[in-house]
């Protein structure tokens, strides 16, 4: 099998969300001596991108998109031993996410977290109603590249500002990019409180994270 034909079959398996076929293909490719980095970059990643386009066209539904992402993440994990020597392979970055204090709405935040990890970020989810101090602690401990803050209540939106202020006071604001979101949150609000990014839904959250990481 030609390499190009092989990679197309990998892409196709991702799009069809055929976990078994994908796993078989990948182990066959490794056995045949195909460069694992090529499989990741020209196969798996392109497959996911195609899935993303189909999702935008509403041809693929959200749970399917998430499944495709998880499937690819698993395969990548299994390729880690082969890839670890290769400096070109790494996760896109560490994304810390939380719903702010006083707010227990977590479905949107969970979706954002799922899509981010499905698209190659390492995600640490701090959960719901998380106080600013806890977020500061975790930022210090984990040094994430991006921090995502969710608020679903207009009355808890000020808690997003509070987190930013807490990070500023602790002198670590510049170390992390901050993206805010949630139904009542707007781009204007994000600007007003000094956030670096805003996204109205989970897939644009991934785009915005990529933008902040200089990946797009």
């Amino acid at each position: 099998m030609e390499t190009e034909e092989y990679l197309n079959r990998v892409i196709d398996a991702v799009v069809r969300m055929d976990k078994k076929d994908l796993a078989d293909l990948v182990s066959k490719g490794i056995a045949q001596g195909i460069d694992p980095l090529l499989i990741v970059n020209e196969g798996l990643t392109l497959g996911l991108r195609k899935v993303g386009v189909l999702f935008a066209d509403e041809a693929i539904f959200l749970p399917e998109l998430v499944l495709a992402g998880q499937m690819v993440t698993e395969v990548m994990e299994s390729l880690k031993p082969q890839l670890s020597g290769d400096k070109n392979y790494k996760k896109k970055g560490l994304f810390l996410i939380a719903t702010v204090k006083g707010d227990v709405h977590e479905i949107g935040k969970n979706l954002v977290a799922l899509l981010l990890s499905a698209s190659g970020y390492e995600v640490v989810d701090l959960g719901k109603s998380v106080p600013a101090e806890t977020i500061l602690e975790k930022v210090n401990e984990l040094s994430p590249q991006i921090l995502g803050l969710s608020a679903l209540l207009s009355t808890t939106m000020p808690a997003q500002r509070e987190v930013i202020q807490t990070l500023e006071e602790a002198g670590v604001r510049e170390k992390v990019k901050i993206i805010v979101g949630g139904a009542p949150v707007t781009r204007d609000w994000a600007r007003e409180i000094g956030a670096d990014g805003y996204a109205e839904d989970a897939s644009t959250a991934v785009d915005d994270a990529d933008r902040l990481m200089g990946l797009s």
Binding site: G102, V104, I107, L153, T155
Partner: protein, 469 residues
């Protein structure tokens, strides 16, 4: 209970036995343990006997008392009461643009709700005003509810300090807390956090309301495929389990405390993840919830006239009618979100509020059904007019032509066609709204009570300028 309901009930009992329910509240967990419920960490596991025994202590029906007794009503049996849209932080304008709601919008809605004879209830969060500090937003809104309407007061779920302020204020109007406990004067929604959890704020609210004898509505809002199973049977069984567990806890707090069986579970849009209300699944969930509540002998809440539409439109019309009609056909006792709510509970629209009053009116007419007696069967008149005759000029028709058929206030009927029928109906909507607002008269509240309220709020740090809009 028919076989289907029994299957759902049985599944709910197995869920509470096997999966249990998390209560993020040390006080409630202690209470559960005291009552012999098995608690492990924050999870409580109820046997079916335990759940149903506590649920059976809840009253089948109860009376709610308004400041003006003309608006008192009973919740339960097949009696239906409407309540307006609730909780939205935005106003959706006629042109489809959205803006943050402010206190003056809340007050304008209070006036409209007060003016409409469809409601015996006023208040709650008619909109969530962006110009109020979240520290005291609910007490300030409650203050306006009390000063602008003498209908029954709908409350809100919130942090313990705000809910305690609510009870102080209600006490200031209706007598102290010892008086309060005798009569329900304020009622609120308390949400579960699906799947199978209740959070601290919700439980604080429940604790304070129930211990003051004020009713709560236990309401799950599970989303099929996200926070509940994607199959409706499982979603309904899960929601039922949560509601029953919540109701059981209210009875542990205070035996016989008035409580309502709520359900707001619905589908999710699997293409985007959005919460959807204008779907057939919502109709099916609320139907089953009503049937279950009635089988348990509990008053129920659900439904309304919500829509996922982003503007007053064809879609907002058909979705709202679908949900409201079903809510009434199922005799849901307390129908929140009956007017004004749009955009999946995210916004209120003044136009839609007026449209929904018309929908309520139609649905009420349907609910009254067909009166069947000698007079209405009109066999004599049919004989008199005979085959091939006409009824238009008969005395029977002339006498009843104004009261028998339903007449719209804003909808266009008949043969008159203008150049722009759409703007005609929009004009009718605006006219009706303005008529209602100009007819509004603030009900009397004794000066001593009004100043007690303003003094109280100022003592809590509320700015005086907020209290005299």
């Amino acid at each position: 209970m028919n076989d289907d309901l029994k299957k759902i009930h049985d599944a709910s009992m197995r869920i509470l036995e096997k999966s249990g329910m998390i209560f993020h509240h040390p006080g409630i967990l202690k209470l559960l343990e005291q009552k012999g419920i098995k608690v492990s960490g924050e999870t409580a596991f109820f046997t079916r006997e335990q759940v149903m025994e506590w649920v059976s202590k809840a009253p089948r029906r109860f009376r709610l008392f308004a400041r003006n007794p003309k608006y008192d009503f009973v919740l339960g049996d097949n009696h239906i009461e409407f309540a307006p849209g609730y909780g939205a932080p935005n106003i959706l304008e006629r042109d489809g643009s959205k803006r943050s709601a402010v206190l003056s919008d809340h007050v304008q809605f209070l006036k409209l709700v007060h003016q409409s004879d469809k409601f015996k209830v006023n208040g709650g969060i008619l909109v969530e005003p962006s110009d109020l500090d979240p520290q005291y937003n609910y007490p300030v809104m409650l203050y306006y509810n009390l000063t602008h309407s003498d209908k029954f007061i709908f409350g809100m779920e919130g942090k313990a300090d705000q809910v305690n302020m609510t009870m102080d204020m209600i006490g200031a109007v209706f007598g102290d807390r010892n008086e309060l406990i005798k009569q329900p004067r304020i009622m609120t929604i308390v949400n579960t956090l699906s799947p199978l959890r209740m959070d601290q704020t919700a439980l604080d609210t429940m604790l304070i309301y129930a211990s003051n004898g004020q009713p709560v509505i236990i309401t799950p809002a599970a989303m099929a495929g996200f926070t509940g199973p994607i199959t409706l049977a499982g979603l309904i069984a899960l929601s039922n389990a949560e509601t029953l567990a919540g109701i059981a806890v209210t009875q542990m707090i205070r035996k016989g405390t008035p409580v309502v069986y709520g359900c707001q579970s619905t589908a999710a849009d699997m293409r985007s993840g959005a919460y959807v209300v204008g779907n057939p699944e919502h109709v099916l969930c609320l139907s089953y919830a009503a049937k279950l509540a009635k089988a348990y002998g509990l008053p129920c809440r659900g439904g309304g006239a919500p829509s996922d539409a982003k503007q007053l439109s064809v879609q907002s019309g058909y979705e709202s009618m679908m949900i409201l009609l079903t809510s009434c056909r199922e005799n849901i006792n307390y129908i929140i979100h009956s007017a004004g709510i749009i955009d999946s509970f995210s916004a209120m629209s003044f136009d839609k509020f007026i449209v929904d009053l018309e929908i309520i009116d139609m649905v009420e007419r349907i609910g009254k059904g067909v009166r069947i007696d000698d007079e209405t069967l009109a066999v004599d008149i049919i004989r008199e007019i005979g085959p091939g005759g006409q009824y238009m000029t008969s005395e029977h028709t002339v006498k009843l032509c104004r009261q028998e058929p339903w007449n719209p206030e804003i909808g266009l009927k008949g043969m008159k066609v203008s150049k722009d029928p759409n703007s005609d109906i929009l004009d009718n909507i605006l006219k009706k709204k303005e008529k209602m607002l100009s007819a509004y008269q603030q009900p009397h509240l004794p000066q001593s009570i009004a100043s007690a309220l303003t003094d109280y709020l100022q003592s809590k740090g509320v700015d005086k300028s907020l209290l005299f809009l």
